[in-house]
Amino acid sequence: MRRWLAVFSVLVGIAGGAGAEYPPVVPGTALVFPDDTGAHPDYRTEWWYVTGWVADEAGVKRGFQVTFFRVRTRIGEDNPSRFAPRQLILAHAALADPAAGRLLHAERAERALAPLAGAASGRTHAWTGDWSLEWRDGHYRSRVADDRFAFDLRFDPSGPPMLNGRAGFSQKAPDPKHASHYYSRPQLAVRGSLRVDGATHRVSGHAWLDHEWSSELMPEGARGWDWIGMNLHDGGALMAFRMRGDAGETMWAAGTLREGGGAPRALAPAEVQFIPGRRWRSPRTATDYPVEWELRIAGRRLRLQPLMDDQELDSRRSTGAVYWEGAVRLLEDGREIGRGYLEMTGYGARLRM
């Protein structure tokens, strides 16, 4: 319908304005903290992605997700107007509540225009209206409010950022030009309040933050990706992804594994294998998603099980994007060893990037 507003698909696929070229992502660039937790406005696309599990006073478990995207359009870079759409800020939030049986989600889209919306450099601070994600005084805080749900959560890190790939250079395809700067903050302790169905709960749990910026991400012929970010119960963390081709074949895969108390280790493509298991068909979009997986990670056989099957995001009426992103459990030998989030894109229509 409103093709222009398919903003999430806009993430990187820009016909391009007339501004300066996007800088390439090259290996060997040292990430500096906390400067690099802020925005990198020259790059095409950047996101801060928080996912996690929380439990309320009664022990009810829910998954949540909040993302802020920054997109450089290369449009209006010579325009002195304060409305010049040089940078767009897109935000997305979702709540996986087993009582509802499916995701509650909401999104925001704005051109960056202080003080209404923006992404600051120097430290993490992205906001649009009353939605925000900010690093301050040693912790993150995120506020999101919509008609059906809202949350105000504080995230305390348990350790330093975990650099993915080669010291934060994360290759996405055989050609190293398809790459991003990428670090994660696993094992964030969550505290805060959550409103759903008109009731506000005190909640606590664990979350995961990804911060990634790039200029060219998806290679030609890629149909979508599968990604996980798991907080392990032993204090470790696991990130793994694979880029899928048209036939569902793996074009590239990689990951980072930090054993409990150990140092993170980059996983080579051969060490990461995604094997789809039980499928679930969305009654809304008739898309089949493998909601259970077998993972072969560095020689270990792991299983993924969803918090609930229906964690599909159907935004066809607003953003046009349809994908599955939800809370999952990680099992090994039938025993839960961690919890986190699984993202699967490109199972319906091709994800436009």
Binding site: L5, I14, G17, I75, L116
Partner: protein, 835 residues
């Protein structure tokens, strides 16, 4: 009764085809004009309102300012307020299109905001490019604009901002706007840049937070607004524009009412004469057992039938006229109230039925009085022939006439109602009624004056007038009404035209005018361009003029601000106060000269203080003078350019008034300007051309009134002709006797002509007096209250004299022709018919 109604009453209409046809035409004309005006303005208002609603979308309040808008920082302020759920900024530009004679209304919007507030303005891109709507050269055309400009996606369009031309790509459409809104949408940042309006907005549309009502929001947000910006409910803006055009619409409707009145009057005179003629037939019907209500119904049905058929014709004609007007002059009938909408003609059942009913009402009203007279007659007497004069008795009604005139004088003192001079129109109707009531008395006076006449024919004519003053009334009433309206319109139009001509000369003192576009459109002249023009050889002086609109109150549409040099001998058409250097008091407030409309609407007089919102702050000015303005009914004010610039920092100009050095010609300077500034982006106009065009428009506007006058005069003449034709039959014996006494046929013709001329003379005399009075009401009350402008009285004596003489001559001719024709016809018929 139905068959009797059909065969006896309605069929009688077919036996007097000319009279019936004329009545039909007059009623049809009235209905058609009224309905056309209603349809055109109804459609325009509908479309205008639809456009306003569409553009406002789900907005609860709109922050609006003048034409050049306000600082866009206000948007940031409003968007962050807790009372506001969504704020959507808009920059509206009337884009000049170089190389085309149209302009295009372009809305610069933030699509991310508009989607929540004004979904109808969301553009639809042709391409798959997700960011097409943000591209700085992307323009999205509403379907109506695509049609008006003959452009399709993929084409390009040149737009002008200031003197710069930019080529835009038609990137898609605006499907939500429907068919009647020829507008375009583009990204707000690109619009600000292309049209030289960085940092400016013309509107911020607000959707209020849940639980916040408009009054609360206005109270809390109001103090944040800079001077000259107000928060209006979208309906309020619509109502203001509708209110502005109301007086104009009522004025046009009054023309239709006049046509309907003349139609009703024609029905009256033809029915009255028909009743005289059919006296015996009606008496015979009474003898057969037709009771009075039945007779009344039958005769009124005749009038109603004329009204109904005339009304049907009129409704059909009205739609034709409206369709023609839409094609030829546009929806506002050239008056400029509804620019930027392209309404469609739609069938309006309510208005159609209403005007059809009005037609029937005119016929019924015209037929009622004669029917009442007929039902009152004594059938036993009427069965015998020869007492037609009974019906034609008329008593002088001086008291009633004077009461009407006194009431008219009182009505002139009343204020307008909702901007419409209701009492002014009532005064016109009262003067007309009073003059018709004065007619019998005037006829009696005339017979006294003629009492001592010598020539035999004159004596005979006098005797007839004295014996049947009712004939003078029946025949003359039409003349009175038509002469009164014609004379009134002639005096008013002549006064208006002379005043407009003088006004134009005073408003356009320079030798030529340079501009980038009309004041409302996107062209403007930066100061360096004005300086370049001033340095050209042959240019003695180049005086810039800046136009803007200012909101002086929440309740009214913005007034026009004209910033220009007033000092240095450049006069304004002042009606009060002082102009030029004399207006500036040392150390006092700066002067402002207000138009009569502002003086009327805001109750201001010379010496009063007026706060003007300039540059976002209120500045006090002193009213130094009041001037006449025929161009801006909503009001205009003039300030010194220097005063304006100091307070706004705005150095742009819309027009430059150029005076030539001695020896320089308009042609060489125009050529030099074009060479210096470019052919496509500037317009050069000469005062002579503007004057000629303005007067041509003026004359075209009043063409319809000339037509109405002609119809009215025709109807007046018809009244004379019909009454003489009707009575000539009855006076057959009289004429035969005169022939026996030795009068030639020619002399009897002259007698008839003389009677006709005398009857008309009484009507013309009374009508002229009434016309003069009505002209004064039109000028001093109706125009002043409708449009807030004054004019100097100008009596076109020669034209009025010629008109009166021509009317007398035509009346004489009509009386003679219809009288003698009727005599000849009746001589043949008399052999076979018994009455």
């Amino acid at each position: 009764m139905n068959a009797a109604l059909r065969h006896v009453f309605l069929a009688s209409l077919a036996r007097r085809r000319l009279a019936t046809a004329l009545s039909l035409v007059a009623i049809a004309l009235g209905v058609a004009l009224g309905l056309a005006v209603q349809l055109i303005h109804g459609a325009a208002l509908d479309e205008f309102g639809r456009g306003m609603r569409l553009l406002a979308g789900e907005a609860d309040l709109q922050a609006v300012g003048g034409r050049t808008g306000f600082d866009d920082a206000l948007y940031l302020t409003l968007a962050q307020r807790p009372e506001v759920a969504q704020a959507s900024p808009v920059l509206e530009v009337e884009a000049r299109l170089p190389g085309r004679d149209q302009t295009l209304r372009i809305f610069g919007v933030d699509v991310f905001r508009a989607v929540h507030v004004q979904p109808a303005l969301i553009p639809l891109a042709e391409t798959e490019d997700r960011l097409a709507a943000l591209a700085p050269d992307a323009l999205f055309l509403a379907p109506a604009a695509q049609a008006a400009l003959a452009l399709a996606p993929g084409d390009t369009l040149s737009v002008q901002g200031g003197l710069d031309e930019t080529t835009l790509r038609i990137a898609g459409s605006v499907p939500g706007t429907g068919v009647g809104q020829p507008l375009a949408v583009m990204d707000i940042a690109a619009a600000q840049q292309i049209f030289g309006r960085i940092g400016r907005l013309t509107r911020v549309d607000l959707k209020l937070a849940r639980g916040v009502d408009r009054a609360t929001a206005r109270a809390r947000l109001g103090p944040l607004l800079p001077a000259g910006v107000t928060l209006l409910a979208p309906e309020a803006a619509q109502a203001q524009v509708a209110g502005l055009s109301r007086a104009y619409r009522v004025n046009l409707t009054m023309l239709a009412v006049i046509a309907l009145l003349t139609g009703g009057f024609l029905v009256f005179s033809t029915q009255l004469l028909a009743v005289v003629r059919r006296r015996q037939e009606l008496a015979f019907l009474r003898a057969l057992g037709v009771d009075r209500p039945m007779l009344l119904r039958g005769l009124v049905a005749e009038g109603a039938a004329v009204g109904f058929v005339g009304g049907l014709l009129g409704v059909a004609l009205g739609y034709g006229l409206a369709a023609l007007a839409f094609r030829l002059v546009g929806a506002d009938l050239g008056a400029g109230y509804f620019e930027g909408v392209a309404p469609q003609l739609r069938f309006d059942p309510l208005a159609s039925a209403g005007y059809l009913l009005l037609g029937v009402a005119a016929g019924v009203a015209g037929g009622a009085l004669p029917a009442r007279e007929a039902s009152r007659m004594q059938p036993a007497r009427a069965l015998r022939a020869g007492d037609e004069a009974d019906l034609l008795q008329a008593r002088p009604r001086w008291a009633a006439a004077l009461a009407c005139l006194a009431a008219a004088a009182l009505a002139c003192l009343m204020p307008p109602v909702g901007g419409v001079p209701v009492f002014g129109y009532a005064a016109v109707a009262l003067v007309l009624a009073g003059s018709v009531l004065a007619l019998p008395g005037a006829a009696r006076l005339a017979t006294r004056v003629l009492g001592g006449a010598r020539p035999a024919l004159l004596r005979l004519a006098h005797a007839r007038l004295a014996a049947a003053p009712g004939q003078t009334v029946v025949a003359g009433a039409g003349v009175v009404a038509s002469v009164a309206l014609a004379v009134a319109m002639a005096i008013m139009v002549s006064s208006f035209r002379t005043s407009v001509d003088d006004w134009l000369a005073q408003m356009l003192p320079a030798d030529l005018y340079l501009r980038a576009s009309s004041a409302g459109a996107s062209g403007f002249l930066p100061p360096e361009v004005v300086a370049r023009a001033a340095r050209l050889p042959g240019v003695a002086a180049a005086r810039p003029v800046r136009y803007d609109t200012l909101r002086l109150s929440d309740e009214r549409v913005p007034v026009t601000l004209i910033a220009r040099a007033v000092a240095g001998g450049i006069a304004l058409p002042l009606v009060a106060g002082a102009g030029g250097d004399a207006a500036r008091e040392p150390g006092g407030l700066p002067p402002v000269w207000i138009s009569e409309a502002i003086a009327d609407l805001f109750g201001l007089a010379v010496g009063d203080t007026l706060a003007l919102p300039l540059g976002g702050a209120a500045h006090r000015f002193r009213v130094a003078g009041i001037w006449r303005d025929y161009a801006r009914q909503h009001g205009a004010l003039v300030v010194e350019l220097a005063d304006y610039r100091v307070r706004t920092g705005d150095t742009l100009a819309n027009d430059v008034a150029i005076s030539l050095a001695p020896g320089a010609t308009v042609e060489t300077v125009s050529a030099a300007l074009r060479a210096e500034l470019g052919e496509r982006t500037i317009e050069i106009t000469l005062p002579g051309e503007i004057r000629a065009i303005s007067l041509a428009i003026f004359d075209r506007t009043f063409l319809v009134t000339y037509l109405m006058e002609a119809v009215a005069v025709l109807i007046g003449l018809f009244g004379i002709s019909a009454s003489f034709a009707a009575l000539a039959t009855a006076r057959r014996k009289e004429f035969g006797m005169l022939r026996h006494l030795g009068l030639t046929r020619r002399e009897i013709g002259r007698l008839l002509a003389l009677e006709g001329a005398l009857t008309a003379a009484v009507g013309v005399a009374v009508g002229s007096a009434a016309g003069g009075a009505i002209a004064l009401i039109l000028i001093e009350v109706i125009n002043r209250q409708s449009f807030h402008w004054s004019m100097d009285l100008d009596l076109p004596f020669a034209a009025l004299g010629a008109f009166a003489a021509a009317l007398l001559l035509l009346a004489a001719l009509a009386a003679r022709l219809s009288g003698s024709q009727a005599m000849r016809q009746s001589a043949v018929l008399a052999v076979r018919e018994d009455w």
